[in-house]
Structure formats: structure tokens, C-alpha cells
Subunit: 200 residues, 2 copies
């Protein structure tokens, strides 16, 4: 973690305090592990700061990070502590369940993004965790221009963290903080499959 | 996250099931953010699997990850859920408080490692989170040969995750899973200091 003095003092007319508290767009990308795990850890820290947190999982998966979800559901709220809303794409978002219908993932992703956009305009959350959001962007399901315009114009003090491989260079350019998780070595390379507690 | 089939099938005489459940040594290194945050996220997931988790923080800091600690302290235990012990170096480890004495960080680090070694031999935890453990190794406070021998010979089924910059190449070689967090862009580069909820 960087320590000490910033490398440059920007000529943006802000005080150090204003600059320090500027809301951030963060991106966790790369082929390594830890992109989502670190984002959920950030949400955990935000919860302790009393933040309202919206988690939106964009890619349907058999491994829905149930460990994290169970933990977040068991955390207390109120009394200066935060609150966590957890929404998954898949068989409809949790605010619009459509059981038994054929999935239209592109439409579901677009619907998810529209809801997030609505919430950002209404300043509903302090932190938005858009998990695996790079994929619907890269697949053309969500319009990157719209994402960048919305992030750039979001009101108030709302942090956003976006995870997923192959973040678009324009998203990287627009972000304040970008970390690339690089796989140096993985047990799969040595013939080992994922296991409980480690991968999900 | 890797999906599907392993790239190779190793000739180690183990069944897929045995191989899948092999305990792992994991290393999160690099100059980027998320090394510790992802490790704490892993601990959260382990808690949900009912694991006994030992967290050992090796570098004294004003920012003791209080968010994560508060969250872990508030998580329930029992009923198939795990338990988390949290130990910090600094003014003495929590099992041997020595208030008011002059710090001897090298001795404290060595004492911390001796305790971890003792616990590994006794198979006390399912997951050891050795946070910022690369530093005392690199500073010569903890003997790398001893660490590698202890990890290599640890009995039972104990996972270990080690975080910190500049992981020694021999530690990387010995680990099963290594992720490097690379800083692509950080607000400090644009003159912004760390802020609550994001950095601690």
C-alpha cells in the first residue's frame, strides 16, 4: 500500500481534504485470482464505515460467492454500521424475478445496468460493487459510452468498484485506481481443480 | 477464475479428489492493492465453510484493518460456521502482551513465527493468514529456510496464505498458488491521499 506523500500535487483547485475524500472508480482486472475477493473485502471495510453498499453480480455462475453472501447477510446493521444489498443476475435480478422464463442474458445485463444507473442518479449507495461487469461491457450487452458518461457524471459521493478480466482501455483510463491481478502460478496448472473454501 | 479442465494430469499418484483437496500455500504479492484484502476475503469464505482461521499481522501499522477485524469479531460462530483468531504484532503479540516495553520488532516477528510453527505442528487451524509476512522474511527477522521446511512438512490439511510485496523467489517456488497484484493506476499518482473505507 502506498505510504507517505503523494508524488505530485494536482492543479485541480481542490483542497487536500476535498481531494482525499473524492469518490473513486476502482477497477480490478487481470487473469489472476483475487479481483472479486478484494472487492468484497472492500465492501466489508465499507460496512464497518457505515456505508450503504450495493453488490451487483453480472455473470451467472454455479459459484455465487455464497461464503461472502452468507457472511454479509449475517453482519449486523444500524448503530453506525453499514448495510449490504446483494443482487444477482441470472434468473432475473432480485428486484424483478422472472422464474421459469428462458434467459436473455443480454437483456438482463442491460436491465441490471439501467437499475444501477437509476440508483447512482438517486445517490442510493456509498459503494457499488459491479462484479464481473467487464464481461457484459466487452460482449456489447452494456454500452461502454453510457457507463463512462454515467460514472463521470454521478452526483454526490459514490464509490464504484468494477471487477473482471480484460477491462476496456477506456474504462481503465476513466478509473481512478486500477489493479491488475496477474496469475504467477495456479494449482490448475499442476492438474489440481478448484476446491471449497478457496475458489468459492 | 480458471474454469474447466486442468491443463495437465500430474503423475503424483493421487486421485483427483485427493489432489483437489490438497492443502495450499498461497502467496499474494506485488506492488498493487488487494493483496491483504483478498486474503481477508478468503478468510471470510473459510469462515463460511466452518474453518478455524488464525490471522497473524506481521507489520505494525496505524491502520490495522479495523474494518475487517470488526466484521470478523461480529460474525457468529458455531453451528457449522468457522471461528477467527486475530493476532497482531506490535506492542507484543496478543498471546504475550508486554505493555510499555521498547519494541523489538525482530524478536517479535521471530516469536510470532515460532507460535505459528507450533500451531501448524499441532494442526490448530484450517487456514493461516500471515499478513505482510514477506517483510520480516526479507528483513532477515524470520528464517526463510525454516519457513519453507515448516510449510513443506506441515501435517494434516492446513491452508496458508502469505501476503506482502517482493515475495522471495524461493517462497514463490514453494507456493501452490501465487498472484501478483500490479498497480496500473493509483490516486496517489494524481496527488490523492488514502481515505477511510478504501485504504483502511
Amino acid at each position: 500500500m502506498p505510504q507517505g506523500q503523494p508524488l505530485v500535487t494536482p492543479a485541480d483547485g481542490l483542497t487536500t481534504r476535498q481531494r482525499r475524500n473524492r469518490p473513486l472508480v476502482m477497477v480490478h482486472t487481470g487473469d489472476g485470482k483475487g479481483k472479486s475477493t478484494a472487492a468484497f473485502g472492500l465492501a466489508l471495510r465499507g460496512w464497518n464505515q457505515g456505508w450503504s453498499i450495493g453488490i451487483f453480480q453480472f455473470v451467472k455462475s454455479a459459484k455465487w460467492r455464497l461464503g461472502e453472501q452468507t457472511a454479509f447477510e449475517r453482519l449486523p446493521t444500524g448503530d453506525g454500521l453499514g448495510s449490504v444489498e446483494w443482487h444477482k443476475m441470472g434468473s432475473g435480478w432480485s428486484w424483478s424475478r422472472k422464474d421459469g422464463t428462458e434467459e436473455d442474458h443480454a437483456a438482463a445485463a442491460a436491465e441490471g445496468w439501467a437499475e444501477i444507473k437509476r440508483r447512482m442518479l438517486a445517490e442510493e449507495h456509498d459503494l457499488y460493487l459491479l462484479d464481473e461487469f467487464t464481461y457484459p461491457i466487452n460482449w456489447g450487452w452494456v454500452d461502454l459510452d453510457d457507463v463512462l458518461a454515467t460514472l463521470g457524471a454521478r452526483p454526490g459521493h459514490q464509490h464504484v468498484v468494477i471487477t473482471g478480466r480484460r477491462a476496456d482501455p477506456r474504462l481503465v483510463e476513466a478509473a481512478d485506481l486500477v489493479t491488475e491481478m496477474t496469475k504467477v502460478k495456479h494449482p490448475m496448472d499442476a492438474g489440481q481443480k478448484g476446491q471449497k473454501g478457496i475458489e468459492w
